[in-house]
């Protein structure tokens, strides 16, 4: 699903966000990307979203070589990805329902499809009763559930999350991670960059640890290594 070969990202100021990193992720995997602050997790995520471009090396996602992606094809590439951020990034003037429906309007889904699918997805993330609320009226956990619902409503093959639980208390964080696991169980490849040591330790997934833009360890059923 993801094939990163010798990728390096040099920022304008000369800092290397990631440095000669290679990583292969199989379809259907659940992978944690961990590492201390500044280790390059977000850089990796932004590269996958094609928000930034690799300075060197190649990144291939779902068969698409990102360096060959034309500007006008970017929206269509991004529709294959579900994205979740630490700060939720919901449209504040739209209700929960509309935020989720928005992702479907973009792909020109019919009203019928929207009316059928959105409640299902909201049900999946446990937000059915908040469909008419605006983001400002929701707790952090509920906002992140909304973002999750939006990310998966078009059934993308790949879900990428950058610190999805960064703003949430441990209990809520667990609920969100469990949801991510559910989504993974339904076949979606999930990549989560996170700091949440406890969760990573408990979930027994593949863990890729970064430091200074380089992979330090890559373990199946790994834990959050304190030395990283």
């Amino acid at each position: 699903m993801i094939d990163i070969i010798d990728a390096t990202k040099v920022y304008d100021n000369g800092v290397k966000g990631i440095n000669g990193l290679s990583l292969f992720i199989e379809q259907g995997e659940f992978v944690f990307i961990v590492g201390s602050s500044g280790s390059g997790k977000s850089t990796l995520v932004r590269l996958l979203l094609r928000e930034i471009e690799a300075t060197e090396g190649s990144i291939i996602v779902d068969g698409q070589d990102l360096s060959a992606l034309k500007r006008r094809d970017m929206p269509y590439y991004r529709r294959k990805l579900g994205v979740v951020f630490q700060d939720f990034r919901l449209l504040r003037n739209k209700t929960v329902f509309e935020n989720v429906a928005f992702a479907m309007q973009i792909v020109e889904a019919t009203h019928r499809e929207i009316r059928r699918t959105v409640p299902q997805v909201l049900n999946l993330v446990g937000l059915s009763r908040k469909a008419r609320s605006y983001p400002d009226q929701l707790s952090g956990g509920e906002q992140q559930r909304t973002a999750l619902a939006r990310a998966i409503v078009n059934s993308p093959p790949l879900l990428i999350a950058d610190e999805p639980t960064g703003n949430l208390d441990p209990g809520t964080a667990w609920e969100i991670m469990t949801l991510l696991e559910d989504i993974n169980d339904r076949g979606t490849t999930v990549v989560v960059a996170t700091h949440a040591k406890e969760i990573v330790d408990n979930m027994q997934k593949r863990v890729v640890a970064l430091r200074n833009g380089v992979i330090m360890s890559d373990e199946e059923m790994g834990g959050y290594n304190d030395e990283i």
Binding site: L49, E51, R72, P75, Y76, Y77, R78, R79, L81, V83, R89, L90, L91, R92, N93, F102, A103, Q105, I106, V107, E108, T110, H111, R150
Partner: protein
């Protein structure tokens, strides 16, 4: 574009206009003010132009005939003058008619009792020319007819030149002013709309992450710009219509000295001004929103 997508754009635009109503009203008023200035100026210019047109029409060339020209000769001359390029109309004025005109213009017609036109006045043609600029050419052509019985040509070259220079100047000033005001309003509008767009920067950003195409993001803003521009063009047109009606009634009363001036009829002005204002407004609105959104689309 699918119909539901179109309806999405319209709903989004309407909704944003209402959500940011303060900004929307500010934008509409900004466009409206600029267009109002253009409109008022247009009304003025249209009337000066109208007045000049009247003046031009009144500047006729009178061609007086020798007494020995026969009736056939008059007819012959009539058609030859007609054939001169730029001559629009030729009217034969019999001495009696000319005399009646003079009498009517005098304070005391009784003075002329007992006299008939033939005794005092020659026969003449009033020659109307399409454009005052062509008067010299026509005069030349008329002068070459002197062998056929033209005795005398009366015209006012200075007045003609004055009117011509003035109306040329007016047209240039008009175009320049409309361009300047148009550019100023576009700049103001881009800035006004930019503020609303900046407020929605994160929103645009999110849309891009979810995979919206540039046009999907842009269209609601364009529709918004069109609506703002439409209202911004409609308001000054309507305001101008009422102002104009009022001014046409009030000015002659206020300044009796110029009460002889005829105003261009309202419909004659607004037939052009209304569509012009609406199109200008929508153009400004579209340019404004497209420019403002552009910056944020590069994510």
């Amino acid at each position: 574009m699918k119909f539901r997508t179109l309806s999405y754009y319209l709903r989004e635009a309407a909704r944003n206009l209402i959500k940011n109503r303060l900004m929307s009203v500010a934008s509409i008023l900004t466009v409206a003010s600029c267009i109002l200035i253009v409109s008022v100026f247009y009304c003025l210019a249209a009337n000066v132009d109208f007045f000049l047109g009247q003046l031009e029409e009144s500047i006729q060339v009178s061609v007086f005939l020798r007494d020995d020209v026969s009736v056939e000769g008059v007819q012959e001359l009539n058609s030859r003058i007609h054939a001169i390029p730029h001559v629009v109309n030729v009217v034969y004025v019999s001495p009696d008619e000319a005399f009646e005109d003079i009498k009517a213009g005098m304070g005391n017609p009784a003075l002329f009792d007992g006299l008939s036109g033939k005794d005092v006045l020659p026969r003449s043609f009033d020659v109307e020319i399409d454009d005052i600029r062509n008067q010299p050419d026509v005069i030349n052509a008329l002068e070459s007819l002197s062998a056929d019985g033209v005795e005398n040509i009366r015209h006012s070259q200075e007045l003609a030149d004055g009117v011509r220079v003035f109306s040329d100047l007016l047209r240039v000033v008009c175009v320049v002013l409309i361009i300047i005001l148009g550019v100023i309003s576009i700049v103001i509008i881009i800035n006004t709309i930019r503020i609303t767009v900046n407020a929605r920067k994160t929103e645009i950003n999110i849309m891009k992450y979810v995979g919206a195409t540039d046009w999907f993001i842009r269209w609601p803003f364009v529709v918004e710009g069109v609506l703002i521009g439409f209202l911004g063009g409609l308001i000054p047109s309507v305001a101008c219509w009422f102002l104009y009606g009022y001014a046409v009634g009030a000015i002659p009363e206020l300044i009796p000295l110029i009460s002889f001036v005829k105003f261009r009829p309202g419909y004659d002005i607004f037939m052009y001004l209304l569509p012009f204002d609406l199109l200008l407004g929508m153009f400004i609105g579209i340019i404004g929103s497209v420019f403002s959104v552009r910056k944020h689309l590069k994510v």
